[in-house]
Amino acid sequence: MISIGIIANPASGKDIRRLVSHATIIDNNEKINIVERIVLGAQALGVERVYMMPDSYNMGYRAEDNLNICNELKCEINVINIMRFDGMEDTISAVKFMEDAKVGCIVTLGGDGTNRAVAKVIKDTPIISISTGTNNVYPEMMEGTVVGMASAAVASGCFDKRLFMQRDKRIEIYKGGEMIDVALIDAVISRDVLVGSKAIWDMDSIDKIYVTRCHPASIGFSSIMGSKKIITEDDDFGAYGEINQKSQKVIAAVAAGVLSHISISEPVILNLNEEHSFISKYRGTIALDGEREIPFSENQEYIFKITKNGPNHVNVKKVLETSQKNGFFNIEP
């Protein structure tokens, strides 16, 4: 049976960035619409079962009801039976469940944070990430129907996945020899002492930025580094930079509609698996993919390491091109 998984984060698109920047609110009803379009695209190309993460708004059941009412649901929607905590734990449990169920592809709806949760545990299953927010680098804005078609092509097993899939980089953070967390795009050392509402928008509190990739077309902290150097997902290295008053100032899109003037040092290349030590001289937090996550106090050592242990990420355009070249869309007479 050809199956895919869908992880739609009910909490994405509503955090404090709507207040401190010009980010867009994304309602869960819109996410349900996107889920429906993914299902329709996927079932049309052979997906027979869609596993969905359970959530407080029952997005899976609502999508199923809506498609049944229209008499358009042909595949099975299976809202998986896991204990719900209404937090990041749900994403982690859902990924484990879906990998155990051997789904051919997992589609995520959320932001960098949602995908970071996926990246913590996912092994080899390919993922496609749809952005449901305005402050994201890792997931992309894509039409659900097309993503559903691409997920079906990936899950079909008809093609060599190396044609459209690559293992992403991630930043691994170690303390006392143990990996305590990961980031997909950036990790930031902040003097902000509280996790609070998580997002960071006060650039004066930032001291150091680690990135797996950076580009001026990004948004968030990686755009700051991106104003000095371009590092793509294909490069076998990342970088870090220091924020300080002595360096040249750049303009960067640090959040939706927020253009800041920031002094950033020349980026220092971090090769894959190279360890970089940070020893704190003050209390603060480490923000991962834009969200304060790890509080630290004075004289604590953290190791930052860029690896190729991230998710297997699908390039939607490439998979559909591969499908077209191989007659995947042809209907038998």
């Binding site: 009910p10 909490a11 509503k14 955090d15 404090i16 960035r17 709507r18 207040l19 401190v20 609110i25 309602d27 869960n28 009803n29 407080s56 708004y57 029952n58 905590f85 902000d192 002492v193 509280l194 996790v195 609070g196 509402s197 998580k198 006060d202 209390r283 509080p295 106090s297």
Partner: protein
């Protein structure tokens, strides 16, 4: 987030005052000393505390039927509050209003309110007054998730947005409208999304994290003081007690309360203070004793106060100040 250790200690004390006041009110209600209904705020302390920590004495709040926490966080006097619950003449409403009508204009507390959603338009009125007087005050309007289905909510957000009023709408989403779960009373999970319809920022925060609430309201207050209009801040939280004291809470799924008790906002702050050496175990214990004594003092004050006289029954009901045919 700019926050001092002193502010954190003050927020902790406020949360303790709310928790201990409400816990004692629960017992006193069971003993028959508290008249009328009481709707307790236990479990939701971080919302009122984090929001009001951003306010000055001359700022306003409007409250709800579950108002004790808001009033304490805005500086209400525990003695007069307890006396009001005891229906004594020393109470905030001279013993004639009870739990749901406590107000203190000197501290900007525009009143608890027995009518669901009624505070929202009062908040807009206060916002208009602030704008008219050209001051930099703000009004924080507290309300629950189910009240956002009322017309008052939509009228209030609409006018506040059109007129760019300095109102911060703080929704305490505790998942229930009386006994009806949010999933059964509204077709959304996040009340914050309703802000989009009124062209104002809407954010959702963890309402059991006092720092998250503080930070979001801090930004919203700063924006409002600069004349940049209203904000809707949704705080996800949970009330540990029933809708009212005596509510058997049969509508709650098994294990739900226990799940939320694990997210108790008060130990979260204690843990943060201990880890960051802001308070020691001994200082936390001493603070608890200090607040316990305040509650005892409030209860003693209420106990020893007199009941209102029979003659006062009609006082403060009708005004006799008439001028040019209009009631002033």
């Amino acid at each position: 987030m700019k926050i001092t250790n002193e502010q954190i200690k003050n927020m902790y004390e406020t949360m303790l005052k709310i928790r201990k006041f409400e816990t004692r009110a629960k017992d006193l209600f069971a003993e028959g000393k508290v008249g009328g209904f009481v709707h307790l705020y236990i479990g939701e302390e971080a919302v009122a505390t984090g929001a009001c920590a951003n306010l000055r004495t001359d700022d306003y709040i409007t409250s709800t039927h579950r108002g004790h926490g808001h009033i304490i966080a805005k500086g209400g006097d525990l003695k007069y509050m307890m006396a009001e619950l005891f229906q004594k003449e020393t109470g905030y409403c001279k013993g004639k209003g009870g739990s749901m009508h406590i107000a203190d204009a000197t501290k900007g507390i525009l009143g608890a309110n027995g009518i669901v959603g009624a505070g929202q338009n009062i908040a807009v009125g206060s916002g208009l007054a602030i704008q008219y007087k050209k001051t930099d005050q703000v009004c924080v309007c507290f309300f629950g998730d189910a009240s956002t289905n009322q017309s008052t909510f939509h009228e209030a957000l609409n006018l506040a947005s059109v007129w760019k009023l300095p109102v911060i709408f703080v929704c305490e989403n505790n998942g229930y409208g009386i006994s009806v779960s949010q999933a059964r009373h509204q077709a959304i999970t996040d009340v914050s999304v309703r802000a989009a319809a009124y062209n104002m920022p809407g954010v959702t925060v963890d309402g059991n994290d006092v720092f998250a609430v503080y930070e979001a309201v801090n930004e919203a207050v700063a924006k409002a003081r600069k004349g940049q209009g209203p904000t809707l801040v949704e705080c996800k939280t949970y009330r540990w007690r029933g809708h009212f004291e005596g509510d058997p809470t049969v509508y709650r799924p098994a294990g739900e309360l226990e799940k939320w008790i694990k997210k108790d906002p008060i130990p979260r702050v204690e843990k943060y203070m201990l880890e960051n050496k802001i308070m020691t175990d001994e200082e936390i214990a001493a603070k608890n004793t200090y607040v316990d004594d305040m509650i005892k003092e409030a209860e003693k004050f209420a106990d020893e106060s007199s009941m209102p006289s029979l003659e006062s029954a009609l006082q403060d009901v009708y005004t006799d100040i008439i001028e040019e045919g209009r009631v002033r």
